[in-house]
């Protein structure tokens, strides 16, 4: 395992698409959430999926990791069709993927160390002392040294996210998925998580897919960005291009302009305050 660890220190940046999504359609009950989505994520690239609440971005992420079944379309991960795989093949692939959930999803009945050790204990023949070293290493990487024996409930929100990232890193994944890594955190802690993601990207050249609605962190970490709106991709471009985009939905999202129906003709709140709304342009 140390040989493996050494190899990971200076890997050659991989090339080719790590994830290919073609004409993906996902339903939630009767309602179609994602309509005909297609995009590619290159190996080693950090793809940020932006979108408002209800845009389908979390559903997209859940479908990519196999938690939701698409009703149409294909997902190819590392050149293999995810939907056409047997359960065993899918499990093999999942061991190469890490996922950090929005709330951390740490197992509440286990310590932080046991959480990180779990995939190693279950999927590798490593002995306990090696696993202990691995756990310490992973917790070091996310800045949580010495927290092995804490229970998840004893950690703050930001530390939970870090512990969840350490667990996602446990199996040295090739693709890492993040669901809202900085949601619900104060700006300083959120910036710390962004920093961590950038560091991981530089150190390991992992392919990352990050779902977020936080613009600042999105522009900081992204190599490429997708803007989802009501289940459709309205933009797919590098951050710099997206920033310059003239497309109305993109501008509305980036400039934080509210939906027109929320500021109706008679705005009672405005009548009460007697002020004009702030100029958002």
């Amino acid at each position: 395992m140390f040989g493996n660890g050494k190899k990971r220190e200076r890997p050659a940046p991989p090339t080719g698409p790590a994830i290919v999504v073609r004409n993906l359609r996902v339903n939630y009950g009767e309602r179609e959430i994602l309509h005909d989505i297609s995009f590619e994520v290159q190996a080693g690239e950090t793809m940020v999926i932006l979108g408002g609440s209800g845009s389908g971005k979390s559903t997209l992420l859940r479908t990519l990791v196999g938690l939701e079944r698409p009703v149409g379309g294909e997902i190819w991960i590392q050149g293999r069709n995810f939907a056409a795989m047997s359960e065993d093949e899918r499990d093999q692939l999942r061991k190469k993927m890490g996922m950090s959930f929005q709330g951390g999803a740490l197992f509440g009945s286990m310590t932080v160390g046991e959480n990180v050790a779990l995939p190693l204990r279950e999927h590798t023949p490593l002995d306990e002392s090696t696993i202990e070293i691995m756990v310490r290493l992973k917790l070091d990487q996310v800045g949580l040294s010495g927290f092995e024996n804490y229970m998840p409930a004893q950690l703050s929100g930001g530390m939970k996210k870090r512990a969840a990232i350490a667990r996602a890193l446990a199996m040295d994944p090739e693709i890492l998925f993040f669901d809202e890594p900085s949601a619900g955190l104060d700006p300083i802690i959120a910036a710390g998580i962004d920093d961590l993601i950038v560091k991981l990207k530089k150190a390991f050249h992992m392919t990352m897919v990050v779902v977020t609605h936080e613009l600042a962190s999105a522009f900081l970490i992204a190599d490429r960005m997708i803007l989802l709106d009501k289940g459709n991709i309205v933009a797919n471009s590098p951050p710099a291009e997206l920033r310059e985009s003239r497309q109305p939905r993109v501008r509305q999202f980036l400039d934080r302009i509210p939906e027109p129906e929320l500021t109706g003709e008679i705005d009672y709140l405005q009548m009460l305050t007697g002020e004009n709304p702030p100029n958002r342009q």
Binding site: R62, V65, G66, L67, R90, D91, Q92, R94, K95, M97, G98, M99, F101, Q102, G103, A105, L106, F107, G108, S109, L118, P119, E122, H123, M171, F177
Partner: protein, 265 residues
């Protein structure tokens, strides 16, 4: 029309529910009895942990309840037997009712309240916190990881608890017999042993294993069916208790009937 539709829907939902239970039980049985021979590890330490919770920790309350139930049985039996002047039959009445019926049933009721509800709450909370999703993304099958250890703990612990419950029930009956019916402890246990045949105890233990399967399956299924939000966990826990009690009684009826009709005459 609406009535027939409601009956049809109810039937379909009921069958689907039982189908779900069977699927869970089948998956857990495969994980416990077949997968270990194919090189997949059985999570024995988790099963032992569960067995402590399900079994050992339940001993005090089961002892107390069974003792009381045994005494109640003796009192109720004596009420009628006294008039016939057959007080010596109290021992066999208690022994047969405890081993064949009330030992397994009272154990099941206590285990539902302690463990069935806990299974639903544990898995429900994990569902709400996305921990079940996390297991799946780590290529850990929730049935293997969560249900199988509970299943194993339950099928091992239910017969043990039931045997203990039988014994405590007999002691409860003996308490009445010794104080009010002219037995000594020695003659009471002797009368009990004479009244029982092995079949009485074994049918009770078979029932207890079936009850264990039902309690595990319902508790876990309700946990997995938990929706979003923490109030849903409370709903699942309640549903697990109510449905387990109903299904345990239904299974009890079926097995009691089977044992009755297959009994040698």
């Amino acid at each position: 029309m609406a009535f027939t539709q409601a009956v049809g829907e109810g039937t379909i939902n009921g069958l689907a529910y039982v189908g779900g239970l069977a699927r869970l039980t089948g998956g857990a049985a495969r994980a416990v009895f077949i997968e270990p021979f194919r090189g997949r590890r059985l999570r024995l330490s988790r099963a032992v942990h569960q067995a402590m919770g399900v079994g050992v920790a339940a001993l005090p309350i089961i002892s107390l309840i069974s003792f009381f139930v045994g005494t109640i049985l003796a009192l109720q039996g004596a009420y009628e037997l006294r008039r016939l002047g057959a007080m010596q039959l109290v021992a066999s009445a208690v022994a047969i009712s405890m081993t064949r019926e009330l030992g397994p049933l009272m154990t099941a009721i206590v285990v539902i309240g302690r463990s069935g509800s806990a299974f639903a709450a544990e898995i429900g909370t994990m569902k709400v916190n996305e921990e079940i999703d996390a297991l799946e993304t780590m290529a850990l099958e929730p049935i293997h990881f969560l249900v199988a250890p509970k299943f194993l703990a339950m099928i091992l612990m239910m017969p043990c608890l039931t045997t203990w419950s039988d014994f405590m029930g007999v002691c409860g009956g003996g308490f009445f017999g010794v104080t009010n019916a002219g037995f000594t402890w020695n003659t009471y246990f002797h009368a009990t042993l004479n009244a029982l045949v092995l079949r009485d105890i074994i049918t009770g233990l078979i029932k207890s294993v079936m009850f264990g399967l039902v309690i595990t399956a319902v508790g876990c299924q309700e946990g997995f069916a938990t929706g979003l939000g923490s109030e849903e966990v409370g709903r699942s826990t309640t549903a697990a208790v109510v449905k387990s009690i109903f299904l345990v009684i239904a299974v009890d009826l079926v097995f009691t009937a089977i044992f009755y009709f297959t009994a040698p005459r």
